[in-house]
Symmetry: C2
Subunit: 563 residues, 2 copies
Amino acid sequence: MKIVVVGGVAGGAGVAARARRIDETAEIVMFERGEHLSFSNCCLPFALSGIVDKSDKLVLMTPEGFWEKYRIKALVKHEVTEILPDKKEVKVKNLLTGECFTESYDKLALAPGANAILPASIKGIDRENVFVLKNVSDIKKIEVFVSEKKVKKISVVGGGFIGLEVAENFRAAGKEVSLVEGLSRVLKPLDEEMAQFLHKELLDNGIQLYLGKTVSEIGEGEVVLSSGERLPAEAVIMAIGVSPETKLAKDCGIELGQTGGILVNYNYQTNYPDIYAVGDAIELTNRLSHDKSRLPLAGPAQRQARAAADHMFGETHSNRGVIGSSCLHLFKLNVANTGLNEKDCKEHGYHYDFAYTLSTDKVGLMPDAHPLFFKLIFEKPTGRILGAQAVGKGSADKRIDVIAAMISMNATLEDLKELELCYSPHYSTARDVVNQAALVALNLLHGKFRQVPVYKVRELVESKACIIDVREEKEFARGHLIHAVNIPMSQFRERLSEIPRDVPVYLHCRSSQRSYNVICALQKLGYTNLYNISGSFLGISFYEYYRDKTEGRKPIVTEYNFN
Amino acid sequence: MKIVVVGGVAGGAGVAARARRIDETAEIVMFERGEHLSFSNCCLPFALSGIVDKSDKLVLMTPEGFWEKYRIKALVKHEVTEILPDKKEVKVKNLLTGECFTESYDKLALAPGANAILPASIKGIDRENVFVLKNVSDIKKIEVFVSEKKVKKISVVGGGFIGLEVAENFRAAGKEVSLVEGLSRVLKPLDEEMAQFLHKELLDNGIQLYLGKTVSEIGEGEVVLSSGERLPAEAVIMAIGVSPETKLAKDCGIELGQTGGILVNYNYQTNYPDIYAVGDAIELTNRLSHDKSRLPLAGPAQRQARAAADHMFGETHSNRGVIGSSCLHLFKLNVANTGLNEKDCKEHGYHYDFAYTLSTDKVGLMPDAHPLFFKLIFEKPTGRILGAQAVGKGSADKRIDVIAAMISMNATLEDLKELELCYSPHYSTARDVVNQAALVALNLLHGKFRQVPVYKVRELVESKACIIDVREEKEFARGHLIHAVNIPMSQFRERLSEIPRDVPVYLHCRSSQRSYNVICALQKLGYTNLYNISGSFLGISFYEYYRDKTEGRKPIVTEYNFN
């Protein structure tokens, strides 16, 4: 058996190493167009701040190492220029010498990856101060440029995972950083109200954020936005997204899917059964939406590589599609998500609802306890869990991993409510964030109360709806919604006459727990038109803050409160 | 509806608060024998070090607060002395005034908790310097005694969760601490090889550990062990376990289960349908072993309280039994477990096997990456996940929560292997600890390789078995097994003649990944008698260290290596 692998990073190196474990006698050849094999892509941004201290360390394996340990012939600076499926051969060009040669294969694996998008429509996109961040060579180029030109002002274009990580790490390195994002919010997998935490975090950490703006021109020391604004920028990092590298595949007749990624079957075979494809270049099926998608993430790439290599030797893996789990560190925040968000649910016609909770991430008495903002999306009326998003200073990743596990096992809210997680005050609360979210969601599903989302509150305030704040008087004094009436939980039973029965009444407290209690009591007392404001005052403060501060909007609160 | 609750802490307070949410008009009365309601039991040990800074803060709610917010009449220092099920009444004694009275109920909830065991067989067990840690008053007594007597030397008896937390927190407060445990290892839910990490951590942090020892006498300033050893101890904390508080229940004819806990049905009703019981005093069914057990943990108590209160109003919850998830912080270690351990599996006749891995908890390039020791136990031949244990400096709790979710959903290794968790170098690796453990476990299940556990290695070394260490020469030079032959992974193909075919060959490296690769290759080359040493050199070092150091055993390694 002779296996040829195109691409020597995550997916490609994974196929090669796995093939060797299966068959010690197979001949395995791997071609990588770039300078480096098997580097840690996901660590690239951290080299900018020095968290990862040397860019050389990012390279996990050398060609010599691959040969010594795995007897894999790995060639860098070698580009596969053509695939000849009928002859089962590839044409290869040595980029250092210009020499071309032909290599035969029994099985071919394509792991060409994806390229950073550089829109030709942006004037000056080909300037020497414009960079992308796809490999170790890019990091080295940036390092040299920043140090030689004594760069202080940097603009990052794109507010996705890479853009945010690049912005954070340049800021940590003491640079003045601006971030430009075409959408009205960063990090697309998050819903609007969850993204607001990130906007505040960026603002608090001195990053100039330009939302809903695009770049029209990159000039000498500046970036010009379509709006006409000019941002000082001695260097520009483009991180608006990636497009799958499919030219090689397409040229030899390999079919592409509707998203432009390489079409593969259950076993990661292309339309040529001896040619497999894995990684960022392929099209996947979303397990929840049944939609076609691309998911340029390292975890799925690793699983694909193993499955493809095994299938070359006759073993089939299960392929359940992807749910899309990801996480991000942003200054003091941990951010994570899995499954579908509200936008996805709407697009796919799901009948859904969501719980939005802010439990503390560990027992409140512990010195480092913080609220964790958690959004749990479920299907109606089945209660099946569809997705979740978490933001806070505590373990967002832990909660999202638990939800990812539950989604993978087709769990319902009832399952999540009963979930018996490990608890000590150092790590969580006896009723963990995820259990609490399941309880709130079940109450919604069972029709036990109704809620309005935090993004509807401005409208309520502006229309002078009846809003009751059930926090105690001292809390109310430290900031409250304009027009809100303060009827503390400890007094509402004596002040029922102040709570109208003929109009909708919207209740909140700090975190929605007390207001939920009051709603239960009032409903039992015959009130029928009550709504809990999900997220309550803490959620409202975080949701409103960034736009109030940057757009000069009139706040709907007398004072924000983030504690 | 009139509800009487006996016990005002976790379970009892939970029943009362939930009942109020369901029915604003119900009359709810709660009696607590002690001084405080609804305190944070699980935080008690942290008050000893000042992590939780004031013992008063441990009290979450006052009787006034219960009345103001919930209209729950909560009475402290009131002991329910008798239950009259036929009359549906309880007799109550006011412990401050001595006054006795009768209270009627429609529904009664018992949440009496459990008492710390104080064996009468220990001479001096009733001395004034002997303490337990069950409530806020205990903490205050200890604080006063330690400060007035200027206590420096403390002995903790019992190496379970509470004993370990007490020992850690007294040590953090600068005390000289000894810990006495009757078993050969601390923390019973862990298997032997996992507990060794804790032993080393205790030793490294200056705690004098006495394993397999019991206390025969507590004297003036000392503890005398059955072995005759005398430990200086001005104060002694007894934490050898708890026994359910069942006298009140038993006296009125409530049936107890085989474990001595109160017998309840699916809805937490006792044999008197109007009397419910929840919390540490009741007997539960283990969902995996189908065994009866008691589980004095806060998470399950909360779920029981909600279910019992709901059932009083006609709503039934699902009751799936318990799996037992717990976690512990011990100096720099995080420790967590869920489901069955090896001992449980043996006792219940499970046909099982386990993977023991030590993946890094985040990408190795990150400055705070550490190995996470992970044991995953599964059923054969079904591959169903039965339990897991994790120890390390990283997020053990996260991985165990994921496994708890998978166990709850009856997941198999195949499900765990495919699990799509969120990944960023800050939090994990592209193939997370739990995915990696599933892959190793599947290889074992599929018969792709065989392993010997780390606790068999001493026997192999002593019998001069053929052990091959495939780490590179430099690593071997920094410490290796006595008698082991060093054939680095980068050389084995040229040195096949040194690897015998006629005897069992045991291979290892640092973490078992390289040795697994070599085993795959050798098997393909016709070797049939190969074993991977699970845990490899790092696991061996941790496993052997504590006993070598404390028992004066001859080490089986030339030097330990913990990196």
